[in-house]
Symmetry: C2
Subunit: 285 residues, 2 copies
């Protein structure tokens, strides 16, 4: 069993880097300043670090309230063997960053992560219509690029502005003012958590590609009055146009009625993969 | 009423460009060589062209069999008022392209869209391990670059090879042989289509954010034995962590039982937006 709140200065935490990403912010809010943080250059690398036990935990983004699911994380959840032990919601406020003392009129390109560019689509078309957009692996990479290259501005968080010594020309430029990202805290396979009284369980379900199969999959939840908090589909990658369902529901795998749920689910699902049970968080803290 | 098969040399079709994209290929397969094609630089621009009647039709990608939904298109379907009048599935087959009469031994970089480079990862590491990869906004852009720059090869479709006068050094180089993209053909709001006998209807459904609401939404489909072919969720963009459902089902809005379906749906959905009824296509043609 793992008690995530008992992290010490020896606890190793992998996160989607480089330093200054919103993922690092989520990791710091979860584990505090004392841990050993390992920045990874991709979501796949965070999963690998947890899977091969080179770190105790991993932190990855899974969903943004405006832009939706992070496909790369979903695909890693399909392919990897890790356990979700917690979630963390962080408010995402984007800033328009330039090198200090540079001329805002001379910006010839704007760098950011693809999702951040999408989250600021209206602001960009109102203010920098036609200016070239450069997709970077992360917001922090974009900030780094803005620091090193003349004429490049970046869209990133306040922490990235501080780390890469950039000037904030405009703040809160995202289209939706209420813009948050949900992050997952991962631990190694089969890590057990204890019910907190307000938990969520994440499952992966493969069904037969037949009429009514999704309805039959949801029926046990309705019969047992178990509330679904989320359903997502992704291509199964086994056959073209076949899907796998990501389902989050309220409850913990150790709750009594969940055993009954699983029994009933097994009769309508081809395959079930439990991704983890963990305390539910809807708001940033 | 619109008969999409009656396109003439005056029919204007907007597509996600530049010339040589797979979207143009989908457009050509749908409308033939005779139409006036207008290339747009973004998916939003294709929707705008159809919405403000500057073209009769628009063509956009909506889903790839390996990579999943195209979020930008889904978000435009939420925000715009257009009608889906057809779908088209195109097999995505990548080719390795170089400037004619150039020396294959002198390739120092390989340009393509990020997704295409990923789709050819095994082929690239078997044949061009260590050669620099250049990410472009589209495969067509990559082909353009290969034509204009010595030593640059491109990964793109056959049409891009023709348009940019490149030589196909190798074909079908993608790792996954069964790789297709589904495209939507859009027309202006309230365009009517006639049942073909094998149709699909696309809906957008907003439900209350309450336990069991998705189940209640699916119940009428089960009761009437109407087969769902697809369900996707996207953030509603109204409230954080609220979702809108994209549902495709078998049938045409003019079918008798669909009127009953709609009556029942209205009792459990807050809002229903009909995106269109059109002939169903699962395979490329």
């Amino acid at each position: 069993m793992t008690d995530i709140s008992n992290s010490t200065k020896d606890t190793k935490v992998a996160y989607l880097g480089p330093a200054g990403t919103y993922t690092q912010l989520a990791a710091l809010r979860q584990f505090g300043d004392e841990c050993i943080y390992v920045d990874c250059s991709s979501i796949d690398d965070v999963f690998a670090a947890v899977e091969n036990n080179s770190t105790h935990y991993g932190v990855v983004p899974v969903e943004n309230s405006t832009e939706g699911a992070i496909n790369n994380t979903q695909d890693c959840l399909i392919d990897s063997n890790v356990t979700i032990v917690a979630e963390k919601v962080v408010s995402i406020e984007h800033n328009f960053l330039v090198r200090k003392n540079s001329d805002a009129a001379n910006i010839d390109s704007i760098a950011s992560h693809k999702q951040s560019l999408a989250q600021c689509r209206k602001w960009l078309s109102a203010n920098y219509s036609g200016v070239k957009q450069v997709e970077c692996a992360s917001n922090a990479e974009a900030a780094k690029l803005a620091q090193s290259t003349q004429g490049v501005a970046a869209i990133a968080g306040e922490m990235a502005a501080r780390i890469y010594d950039l000037e904030i020309l405009d703040s809160k430029i995202q289209d939706q003012k209420n813009n948050s990202t949900r992050f997952l805290i991962l631990a190694s396979k089969n890590t057990e958590t204890e019910p907190s009284g307000n938990d969520k369980t994440s499952l992966l379900l493969y069904t037969e590609n037949k009429p009514g199969s999704l309805f039959r999959l949801l029926q046990p939840f309705e019969e047992l009055q178990i509330s679904l908090s989320k359903i997502e589909t992704r291509p199964s990658k086994k056959e073209a146009w076949e899907y796998v369902f990501f389902i989050d529901f309220e409850g913990h795998v150790k709750d009594d009625n969940i055993a009954v749920l699983f029994e009933r689910l097994y009769s309508s699902a081809v395959e079930i993969k439990v991704l983890g049970s963990y305390p539910s968080r809807r708001h940033s803290d």
